[in-house]
């Protein structure tokens, strides 16, 4: 009886979080055509979805942008985090960190508008490149934030020991530091991935010339009402995400078992 209320509370919270998604998924099988009443089971929306090449291209573009921007911003972000942590002066370090944090908290609309102005002044045509650059830019601070704690908790004696045993600076980086912060790097990568996948505000400003991402496209459907094949698409994306999470979990499990004793 003691554990009933906490569990009930937990179940309630998860219900609230997941109910809208399941509601949306449920109606993707509706033959009625609207979300107001369920008329019967059909897979027509899924068929329609796969015959709509324009929408498929947009989905793939969204995924490509997310993967590339996450990967590139992870590289830049890790280098940035290293630079911050090994900055000589304390005040210098804090300034860099604050500047990084400002970018995270500043509103997307402002970031998006400033990118639009920048790209038009520099003369970059709006499209794939502009979206990719913008996504990399807003993902870098997130990666930095995810990697920094790992660097901070790493004892400096590890580096001293490595240097003592004759490791070059490059060896220290690739054989000591990077392996130690790998979990942070992966966390940063996945955070950047999700930020890029669902970003609307920044993307909205920098898309153009036929290139759009899913969030912008769905938004522009609003005037004429959103068709149920968007529900079907959301269902597939949701299942895809679940699949990714489960996959990541198993990879994590496999890696952790043999390494557990060695690492600690």
């Amino acid at each position: 009886m003691k554990s009933f209320w906490p569990r009930a509370y937990l179940a309630f919270v998860f219900l609230i979080l997941y109910a809208p998604i399941f509601y949306l998924m449920f109606y993707s099988f509706n033959s009625g055509g609207t979300m107001s009443s369920f008329d019967g089971f059909t897979l027509d929306w899924y068929k329609e979805l796969f015959s709509d090449t324009r929408l498929l291209i947009i989905v793939l573009n969204t995924i490509v942008i997310a993967l590339l921007s996450a990967a590139i911003s992870t590289i830049i972000g890790v280098i940035g985090a290293l630079a911050i942590i090994y900055a000589r002066k304390r005040i210098y370090q804090n300034t860099l960190l604050s500047l990084n944090n400002v970018l995270i908290v500043s509103p997307d609309v402002i970031i998006g508008a400033s990118f639009l102005i920048l790209f038009t002044i520099v003369g970059i045509k709006l499209g794939f490149t502009s979206v990719l650059l913008a996504h990399i830019a807003f993902s870098v601070p997130i990666v930095v934030i995810m990697v920094l704690p790992k660097l901070q908790e790493m004892s400096s004696s590890l580096i001293d020991a490595a240097r003592d045993l004759g490791a070059s600076r490059f060896d220290v980086l690739t054989k000591v530091i990077l392996p130690y912060i790998t979990p942070g790097i992966f966390a940063g990568f996945f955070m950047a991935l999700t930020y890029s996948l669902d970003d609307f505000a920044v993307t909205f400003f920098v898309t153009g010339n036929g290139f759009t991402t899913l969030s912008v496209e769905i938004y522009s459907l609003a005037r004429r009402g959103i068709s149920l094949n968007i529900n079907a698409l959301s269902t597939l994306l949701f299942l895809f995400t679940i699949f990714l999470v489960i996959g990541y979990y198993f990879i994590q499990q496999r890696n952790e078992k043999p390494a557990a004793g060695v690492r600690k």
Partner: protein, 356 residues
Amino acid sequence: MKKLMQALVAVFLISFLLLYVVDRLNASSGQTEGSTLTVYNWGDYIDAELIDRFEKETGVKVIYETFDSNEAMMTKIEQGGTTYDVAVPSEYTIEKMRDQDLLYPINHSKVPNLKYIDDRFMDLSFDRGNKYSIPYFWGTVGILYNTDEVNGEITAWNDLWKPEFRNKILMIDGAREVMGMGLNSLGYSLNDTNEAHLQEAKAKLDELTPNIKAIVGDEIRMLMGNDEASIGLVWSGTASELMGTKDNLEYVVPEEGSNLWFDNMVIPKTAKNIEAAHAFINFMLDPEVAAQNTEYVGYSTPNKKALEFMPKEMVEDKRFYPPAHMTERLEVYENLGPEMLARYNELFLKFKMHRK
């Protein structure tokens, strides 16, 4: 380190694989060689089959992009960095774009199909002589009501003031639409600038407040669809969509007069392929093409000849194709200038704050 490198390589490989797939899909949906045409239109506002057909007939590849509001579209064009060849703004935006020198004039000799457009919809106040714009779709503002809950017919704006409609009316959140309704119900023009008339209209609207359930935006479509209210002030496009799914709804263009709106095709200054833009506009005006497009979109076409290719019940529907004597009473919103517009907005705001 090895694990990181592997992951990085995997991510890049997957990305380039996907890019390749996108490229193949792009290639299969149209010719990659030759010229391209970028069309900027409202979401879901064209039959996609017609784009394929245009590509096959002309060999021009169409890049199709969508927007959700006139303001968003205009900003993108104003800002540059884009190469939209054809855009589809509403009439008041056309005036603004023309004044800011964002439009190329349309060469009528390259658009022979222009002759099929009904004279009623040519040479209107927002673009005299159709120098910059060609009508794409048109519609009205009117009353959508639920026949199960409303006894008898509604035919006029003044019917809404009946006490039996207490708390039953949904209004669209637009100053021109609501003030226009007030002015029309008194028999004035919806472009009226006479201060006394405006005050009179506002006072009349204040009397309507007990009947108003809410003043809403796009959600009016959903609310009416779910029977949340029995009467709504809507655009005809919204009405025809809803009536397609629900039998118990009826749409009426009020007899005192109402607004006539247009979405027109224009060639913005960002255009790179002006030749193909003219070809596309001409293609969309082809009667058969316009008929197919109209059946898909469900709005009213200005193409007179296209009506012959459309199902009879659609063409003879007086609610969406009102006869000439009715369209005479419909007016296009004129650009009243920023000061007058501010006055309209102010009165509308005061009306919204008026206590029941």
